[in-house]
């Protein structure tokens, strides 16, 4: 076996999607990283306020939303794999299932917002809630953009054959959805468990 032989267990190294997509994805990850840092800097000024406010969040809903996004990501992996193997019906169903998970996430988030605001824990209550609404609101905006990316994926999974450019676009859309999942993992830990 030569060093360049490609096997099933050691596929050739390749960039998922367009390389430009990764500039955008890393940029987004760094921007959110800066938000996470800002949140912890603000927390250091009022640790007891943040800790008390954290316990008023719906932890069970936060856990459920994490599981919903993880499951949606698995559906997206399934959709991409099915697209590559030509299983168009399965790919379309998997994308639709992922979009369904996204809608469940939004519904649960709206429930949390309404419930918190109703209990007097709106964005103006203290700095914890202000950051909670800003950070989760920005993430929710990403969920909506991600649903758009998944809708694009759904239009491509029905095609008989995808060229290299379209395949890269579909991979990029899938990676954006995984980014939404990735950012939520840090947000869930910071807001619901750590602060």
């Amino acid at each position: 076996m030569t060093p360049h032989t490609v096997t099933a267990s050691h596929p050739a190294r390749r960039i998922p999607g367009e390389s430009g997509t990764w500039v955008f994805l890393f940029g987004d990850m760094l921007v959110f990283g800066a938000f996470f840092v800002t949140f912890l800097v603000e927390r250091a000024k009022e640790p007891d306020v943040f800790d008390a406010a954290r316990t008023t969040l719906h932890l069970g809903v936060g856990v459920l939303n994490t599981l919903v996004l993880l499951t949606s990501s698995l559906f997206v992996v399934l959709a991409l794999t099915a697209t590559r193997t030509g299983a168009r019906t399965l790919a379309t169903r998997a994308v639709v299932a992922a979009m369904g998970c996204g809608l469940v996430f939004i519904a649960l988030k709206v429930f949390e917002y309404v419930s918190l605001a109703g209990a007097g824990h709106g964005p103006g209550a203290n700095h914890f809630y202000l950051y909670y609404f800003i950070l989760t609101g920005l993430h929710l905006f990403h969920v909506c953009l991600g649903l758009g990316a998944l809708a694009f994926m759904a239009t491509q999974t029905r095609r008989d054959e995808l060229g290299a450019t379209r395949t890269a676009l579909v991979e990029g859309a899938a990676c954006f959805w995984h980014l939404v999942d990735l950012l939520w993992i840090f947000l869930f830990a910071l807001l619901y468990l750590v602060s």
């Binding site: 998922p16 890393f26 250091a44 993880l70 399965l90 998997a94 990735l182 468990l193």
Partner: protein
Amino acid sequence: MTALKLLSNRAGVTWLILVTATIVSWAVGAEHRTGSAVAVLVLAIAAVKVRLVGLDFMELRHAPIPLRAAFELYCVGMWALLSGLYLWL
């Protein structure tokens, strides 16, 4: 059956690990005092989960080394930075 076959690969196992890690972090992190080292553990679990999402869902495990290294650095860097800010600010 096709879906089950497709999910029996690494991504399916990764999903199970991610779900388990979420429940573990919930059990560990739900109740802890301000300034507790438990927060560092919760952040470590989050960083490991993010790494798995990147490697197995975003397919960075077999990406060119610079791209994969940048991602690994992000995971470790975020954990170290956030833990440091939590403990020492």
